[in-house]
Symmetry: C2
Subunit: 470 residues, 2 copies
C-alpha cells in the first residue's frame, strides 16, 4: 500500500518526483472537497502527464492492490473525489493532462484531455464560432474528465442534454493499465457494445478517463433572457409547456425559483430583484436564435406576452443588454451560495417527471414542516429537466444543532416522495460517498446487482475509488 | 435444446400453445431477413404477451442452455435477428407486446413496449402534438425494441440523434430471467452506472428489451425541404457548414446523393428529377420552424440563395406543398431499392468525421475501380452525420458472378480507407452476422476485450443471440 516508502518511490518514478506530491501542505487541497463536507487522507498525489503514465500507474496499482482515487477539479458535491480517512489511497490528479488535441468546426467536434477546465474548452469553442453547451457555475475550476465521470448537468441541459449527451468517445485507462482507444469523432458508430456510457457517470470507480471526443454546436447568433413572475409551480408548468411548444430546441433554459430563493440571492448576493412587484415563484427562461439577438428577443417576448394574456404568468422582464443578461444569470447562479449566510442547510438534488413538478413541491413542503418545524424550503432548479435543488435552510434564528438532528428525517421524507413520483434522489450530483447507502437501500435490486456484476468484471480487485457509488 | 419435444412443450406452456409457433409454414417468415440475405432454422417461435412470460422464457432458457434469438420487425440489414442454420435456437418475437403504456405531452416522454412499430409510435406522438423524431424507411414494420437493440439512425439523426439519444430508460429481461426495471421518464438521473446504453446497440446479445421510456419533442409547426444541385462533395461540405451555422438544430436533415443514386431512383422508382439541369451531386436538406411553414421556407430559402450567390451550390428547388415534400423525401428513400434492378450490389454502411467526407469519396472511387473495373459507385446518405451508404453496383451489363468474386476486395479497400480516416464500417446498421469477423479483426483490442468481459459477465452461458456481434 501507499504507506510503504518503497511503493511510493515506485509510483513517483512513473511521473517523476516533481509530479509526485508527498508534502502534507501540498497534498492538503486534494483531501478536502469544495464545500468542506468531506476530508480524507492520503500520502501521495500523482500528477501524470501522459496516457502512458496513467497506464503505468494503474498497472502498478492493480499489481500491488493499491487504491486509486481519480480527481479532476474537485468541485463535486457528494465527496466522490475525496479519499477515505485510512490514508491508504493514492490520488491521481488529471490537471496536467489539459490540452485540446483537435477542434473541428465543420464536423462540430473537439478532442480534449481530461484535465482541461470547462471554461477553457468553452472559450476555445467560441473562438472557432462554436458552442460547447455544458454550462456549470463551477466552470472555471471543474475539469472535463470530472464532468464526464459525474455526468454533469447544469442550466443548458434542457436543449443540449447532460455531459453524457455531448460525448462521442472516450480514452480510458482500465485497472491493470489497458487503454481503451475510443476517441472517435463520429456521429454514428455501431461497432459493438457502447463502452463510453459505462464510464460516464461511474465516478472513477471503473477506470480513469484521460481524454474525450465531444460534440460542439454552432454558436447561436442571439440569445434572450427573461425573468417571469408566476403564481405557482402549476402555472410555471403551463408556462413551460407553452414556451417549449413555441420554441422547441431554441428554448435553452427554463429555471424555476421560489420567492425565498430569489430573496436570499438579492439579500446576500448584491443582486436586484428582477421586477418591482412581489411574486411567489419566478422563472428564468432563455431562448436562442440562429439569426440575431433581435429575433431571439422578439420571439421570446411575444411568447411571454401571450402567456401573460392567457393568465399563465403575472409579469416579466427581458434583459435589455448584455450586462443585464449577465446579472439575470448571476442572480440564478448565486442561489446556492446565498443559502450559506442563512445558516445550516440540507441539500436535495432531486428529479421527477416534469409533469410531476407541481405535485412534488405541493406535497414536499408540508413534509418538511412536519419533520423540522420552522425550517425554510429554498427551492430552485432546472424545471425543464424535472430537476430541482429542493434545499432546506434552518429556521430563522433557530438552533443549528437541533435542525441538524432533524436532517435525516427531512431527507427521508423528501426522498420517499421522490420515489413515489418515479423520481431520482440524484439528478445531477451523483452518488459519491454521500448517497452510497441510499442507493444500496432504495434502488431497483436487479439494477444494483448488474452494477455490482459490472464493477467486479472490470475492477476485480476493487482498486478504483473504493467506497464510492456501490 | 429446442430439438426436444419436451423442452418445446415447456416453453410453449409459458406463452400458451397459440403463441408458440412450431408449424414450418408459420415459422418461415421469422427465419429469413428482409433483404433475403440470411436464412436460418428454428423449430420454435415464441410470442410472449407479458414481461412475466419473457422472464420465464429466459429463466428456462438459461437453465436448459437453450439459445435465444430475439426478434422485432425483422427489418435489419446485417442478419442480427436471424438464427443460425443449426435449428437449435428459439426465436422470441416481441410483436405482441406492442402497447403504448403512457404518453406525457408536458414532460415530452412516452413509455412504449418493444413490439410497437415505429410508425404507430410516431402517429401516437403526432396525435398529442408531439414528435418522436426517429425516422426510418422501414417505419411501418420495424419495432421500437429492434430500433433500440440496433441503435437505429436514419434521416433525422442530424438534429435529434440516433435511437440511443432518444432513450431515457429501459425495461430489460436478463438471461436467467431477472428484470431490470429502468423505465424512468427523467431527463436527469445519476443513480449509479448507466445500464440502458449497454443494451442499446447490443443486438439482443445481452438480454431482451421489453419496454422503453423515450423522449418526445414538440411538434414543429413548419418544415421546408429542398433539393440542391452541387458540383462536388467538397461543395456539399461547405454548403453543410453554411446551412448548419445558419439554422443550428433547426437543420434536421442534410443528405448527400450522387447523380447516379438520383438517376437510379428516377429510372426505377417513378420519381421526377428535382431539377431540369444536370448536377454531379445533390443535397436534400430539411429545415423546421417552431412557428410556421412560411418561416421555415423563408429561412431555408434565404440560406440557400446566399449559398448559390457565394458559389457553394449550383441550383435549388424548395418543395411548394405537402405532396411535393413527400415526393422529395420519397426520391431519397427509394435509392436503396432502386439499386436492385441494376443487378448485384455491395453495401457499405460507413461513417467518417464529417470534415473527411469529400476526401473519402475522392479516394474511395478509384479504389473501387481498381478492385472491380467498371463497377458503378452509388453513393448517398446522411452527410450531416458523416454517414454514407457507399454502395457499389455491378458493371452495366456485366457478369454478376465475376463481380461477386471481387466483392471481398472492394469492401476491404473501402473499409481500409474508412479506418485510415478514423471512421466506422458500421455506422447505423450494426454488426449482426455480417460484420462479426470484421469487428473481431479490426477493432481496438482493449475495447474488444472489454466487450467480451461484459458479455461473459451478463450472459455467462452464451444463450443470447449467439454468433452475433462478438
Amino acid at each position: 500500500m501507499a504507506s510503504g516508502a518503497d511503493l511510493i518511490a515506485q509510483f513517483a518514478a512513473i511521473t517523476g518526483e516533481q509530479h509526485a506530491l508527498t508534502d502534507t501542505a501540498l497534498i492538503a487541497p486534494y483531501l478536502r472537497d469544495w464545500r468542506g463536507a468531506y476530508t480524507g487522507a492520503s500520502r501521495l498525489v500523482l500528477r501524470p502527464g501522459s496516457i502512458a503514465e496513467v497506464s503505468a500507474i494503474l498497472a502498478l496499482a492493480q499489481d500491488t492492490r493499491t487504491h486509486i482515487v481519480p480527481q479532476g477539479g474537485n468541485t463535486g458535491l457528494v465527496g466522490g473525489s475525496i479519499p477515505d480517512e485510512s490514508g491508504n489511497a493514492v490520488i491521481v490528479s488529471m490537471s496536467r493532462m489539459a490540452s485540446i488535441r483537435a477542434l473541428d468546426p465543420v464536423g462540430n467536434t473537439v478532442v480534449v484531455e481530461a484535465g482541461c477546465t470547462l471554461q477553457t474548452l468553452r472559450e476555445a469553442a467560441l473562438a472557432a464560432d462554436r458552442l460547447f453547451p455544458l454550462a456549470l457555475a463551477s466552470g472555471g475550476t471543474c475539469q472535463i474528465g470530472g464532468n464526464l465521470a459525474t455526468n454533469a448537468g447544469g442550466i443548458a441541459a434542457l436543449s443540449h442534454g447532460v455531459a453524457r449527451d455531448l460525448c462521442l468517445g472516450l480514452e480510458v485507462v482500465l485497472p491493470g493499465g489497458a487503454v481503451i482507444n475510443g476517441l472517435r469523432t463520429l456521429k454514428k458508430d455501431n461497432r459493438g457494445y457502447d463502452l463510453k456510457n459505462l464510464f460516464i457517470g461511474s465516478e472513477g470507480t471503473l477506470g480513469i478517463i484521460t481524454a474525450a471526443s465531444l460534440k460542439l454546436a454552432p454558436k447561436p447568433k442571439g440569445r434572450a433572457l427573461t425573468w417571469i413572475g408566476v403564481a405557482s409551480p402549476a402555472a410555471a408548468m403551463a408556462l413551460f409547456h407553452r414556451l417549449h411548444s413555441d420554441a422547441g430546441s431554441a428554448l435553452t433554459a427554463f429555471e424555476l425559483c421560489s420567492a425565498r430563493a430569489v430573496d436570499f440571492a438579492v439579500r446576500h448576493g448584491g443582486f436586484r430583484a428582477p421586477l418591482a412587484g412581489r411574486h411567489e415563484w419566478w422563472v428564468l427562461a432563455e431562448r436562442i436564435s440562429a439569426y440575431s439577438v433581435e429575433e431571439a428577443e422578439t420571439a421570446l417576448g411575444s411568447s411571454v406576452l401571450a402567456a401573460i394574456d392567457d393568465g399563465l404568468a403575472e409579469d416579466a422582464v427581458i434583459a435589455g443588454n448584455g450586462a443585464q443578461a449577465l446579472a439575470f444569470m448571476g442572480l440564478r447562479e448565486a442561489m446556492s451560495d446565498a443559502q450559506k449566510p442563512e445558516g445550516l442547510s440540507i441539500k436535495h438534488d432531486i428529479s421527477v417527471p416534469v409533469a410531476a413538478i407541481a405535485e412534488f413541491i405541493a406535497r414536499a413542503e408540508p413534509l418538511v414542516e412536519l419533520a423540522a418545524p420552522g425550517a425554510r424550503v429554498v427551492c430552485f432548479g432546472h424545471m425543464g429537466d424535472g430537476n430541482l435543488h429542493f434545499n432546506v435552510s434552518q429556521p430563522k434564528g433557530g438552533d443549528a444543532a437541533a435542525f441538524k438532528a432533524r436532517s435525516g428525517e427531512v431527507s427521508a421524507a423528501v426522498h420517499a416522495l421522490v420515489a413515489e413520483l418515479g423520481g431520482s434522489f440524484s439528478a445531477e450530483h451523483g452518488i459519491g460517498r454521500m448517497k452510497r447507502e441510499l442507493l444500496a437501500s432504495t434502488h431497483d435490486p436487479a439494477s444494483l446487482a448488474l452494477m455490482r456484476t459490472l464493477k467486479a468484471a472490470i475492477d476485480p480487485y476493487g482498486i478504483m475509488n473504493p467506497g464510492k457509488v456501490l
